[in-house]
């Protein structure tokens, strides 16, 4: 019902000011793609060991923090602009960051979660919060409270530009020239790289042996163990992949917004978690869908309502979803006792 109202509202907005709505949707989809990358890590880890990996948002930030000095190794500083020669370097750094991030997350799992695997549920959750603070503290100690400037390596050029007619309801008729909509190469690059990563992930989960082991472990850990699956290795692999995706997300975020701060991961992580819950926690397609929806909701809210309320709206959605539809849009797991 409320979804229907929201869709009607969006249609009304579109009829009134198509250019503004499309521009907003572009922002929303781009942001949503980044949230989806982070949400995937939450949902995978939750799917396999039923832990809300609180430190995941900070692992996401860590991706950007690791990427900056690695780019610096190749002589890319904050002033560097886009050039084709940087593309292979960028890809290489991406892979490196994803790997390093994965290793960090495996270490976290080994140190803080594995010893508590048979403990009551709240114990690993508390260490996860502790880990989140440790990561944030380490990044704070490393780079301080300032926003780091990130090189603007993605091209600023416009991918496609088209004019749009004035609003149908005549409210927008004051403007004489038809407004322009710009879709930047940046946005396209972000969405494409996310789609590529999600496709790779889905192939990995559905087609490889390790992916099969993961699905089996998520379904029934004891039975999987009886079938000869190395549980610890499978869980480590899940943490590695989740962190690799988050690291890529952190890099993409930093490249897109050209700035990153040590505490970025707290709010972003919570928003991404909301996305995972909205899509249905434990469900990979759900996380991607939830990420996109949350991105679009946020962008709509920022344009048509108020940016200072967007976190309130998102966290409100989180509470509402958990209260009224704990399974999310696509999920099957029930977060109730």
């Amino acid at each position: 019902m409320s979804g229907l109202l929201a869709i009607l509202w969006v249609i009304y907005l579109g009829a009134e000011d198509p250019a503004g709505l499309i521009a907003t949707l572009v922002i929303g989809i781009t942001d949503g793609a980044m949230f989806a990358l982070v949400a995937l890590g939450y949902t995978m880890v939750y799917g396999i060991i039923e832990l809300i990996n609180f430190a995941h948002g900070d692992v996401f930030t860590l991706g950007g923090f690791l990427g900056l000095p690695l780019l610096g190794l190749f002589g890319i500083t904050s002033g560097t602009k886009f050039a084709w020669v940087y593309v292979p370097i960028l890809v290489f750094v991406f892979v490196l960051v994803m790997g390093l991030n994965g290793l960090v997350n495996i270490t976290i799992e080994r140190v803080a979660y594995r010893p508590l695997r048979n403990a009551p549920r709240l114990a690993p959750l508390i260490t996860a919060i502790g880990m989140s603070f440790i990561l944030e503290g380490a990044m704070y100690l490393w780079r301080g409270p300032v926003s780091l400037r990130f090189p603007n390596l993605l091209p600023d050029t416009v991918a496609s530009r088209f004019t749009s007619p004035a609003g149908h309801f005549g409210l927008n008729s004051g403007s004489t020239a038809a407004p322009l909509i710009d879709i930047g190469v940046k946005d396209v690059a972000v969405v494409i790289s996310t789609v590529v990563l999600v496709i790779l992930l889905s192939v990995f989960i559905n087609r490889t042996k390790l992916g099969k082991a993961m699905r089996a472990t998520a379904q029934d850990r004891d039975a999987a163990q009886l079938m000869g699956i190395d549980i610890n290795r499978t869980i480590s692999a899940t943490f590695f992949i989740g962190a690799a995706l988050a690291g890529a997300g952190g890099m993409i975020w930093a490249l897109y917004f050209n700035s990153i701060r040590f505490d970025l991961g707290f709010t972003t992580g919570l928003i991404a978690f909301t996305a995972a819950v909205l899509g249905g926690i434990g469900n990979i397609e759900g996380a991607a869908l939830g990420g996109l929806l949350i991105g679009i909701i946020r962008a709509l809210n920022e344009r048509y309502l108020s940016a200072s309320w967007s976190d309130v709206v998102i966290f409100g959605i989180l509470i509402m979803v958990l209260v009224f539809r704990p399974t999310g849009l696509l999920g099957m797991r029930v977060p109730e006792k």
Binding site: E50, L122, I129, F133, T274, S308, W309, K337
Partner: protein, 415 residues
Amino acid sequence: MIATLRDPKRLRAKLRQWSRDPYMVVYGVLFVAAVIFPPLASFATGTSTLTGLAADAGVWVLLAIGLNVVVGFAGLLDLGYAAFFAIGAYTYALLASAQLRSSPLHQAVHLPFWVLLFLAMFVAASAGAILGAPTLRLRGDYLAIVTLGFGEIVPRVFRNDPGHWTGGINAIGGIDQPTIPVCLDGPWSQGDDFKLQFGAVNCSFSLSDPTAYYVLMVILIIACVILVTNLQISRLGRAWAAVREDEVAAAAMGVNTRNIKLLAFGIGAAFSGFGGAYYGAKLSLVSPDNFDFTVSITVLVMVVLGGMGNIPGVILGALAVYFLEFKFLTDLPRNAAALANQVGLQGLLAPNAATSWPGLEDFVGRLNFLVLGLILVLMMLLRPQGILPSRVRAQELKAEGAADDTVFDARAGQT
């Protein structure tokens, strides 16, 4: 009780019994320390700054005792505890300052502190009940996330200042100081000149002399400790323990789990609102920045460090974390610089920076997050029962396999 006190023999027996009880020893030491602290601190430093700090520490003790009811007794993880603290503080700030004159109400309200202390408690408890009623059926970790979301929403709402009620980022300043009730400071007080005094202790509340705040805080804490201890050993306390250990079994035994959990949530929130009202009065300024996630986590660290479910442990944990965060780490750069200068290291400094050690202050200022995180992780991994383990817990740890599915004993089942 009176009979025990009259009879020296029984009194001696009672004292001997208490001296064997580690809890009573901790309480006794804490009480004596609380009584001798203000004169000692003002004698040592010549000012009452330390007493003011101790009164602030008391707010945290109160918060930790309250969170302990939720986390320790009932086993519900509340990550948005600062929200109730904020609600309490804002209740006091709005109803005891000129803030509402600039709100749509156009009328400043100045209710007395003693009324608002309980009103703030009630408002915070209601907020806890309203949040808890629909969400308490969620599983523990989801409940934690819901409370976290709530804890993020509340300060943001205060900051966004809907309808110009809360002052937004400008905060609410000029909040009324408490006054001694008329029954103590009545017609015989001869106007404003009179100050209720016990010896050298000035008993009026002022920003310059925090002694009265300190005394009030000690009284509040004593009252709360008695209250919570009685709650713990009451029917309700046993029901909380049952729900914490095994909710299904508790429900099967006829415990109304939803109401029991709601009560824990509401009582915890009430403590937080209580502390919030006091905090608003003490600081005379309430700003949305004072209630962020770090506050909730700091209180959680206090509870985890002290030992969940264990009141004297939690008090010690709160004092230890407060000292570490707000005294030791803040003073560390100055002290380290003084030490370095004393042992003759100032020759190493660049001549233009002869007074302070560059980078040290910055470095220490950045340690907070790391320290909090390390305490949480290390405590959960190495000593999940806390620095002062609860008696019940110690017994349960002895009984083999009894503590298989509990909140505190994180390593049970591993051995």
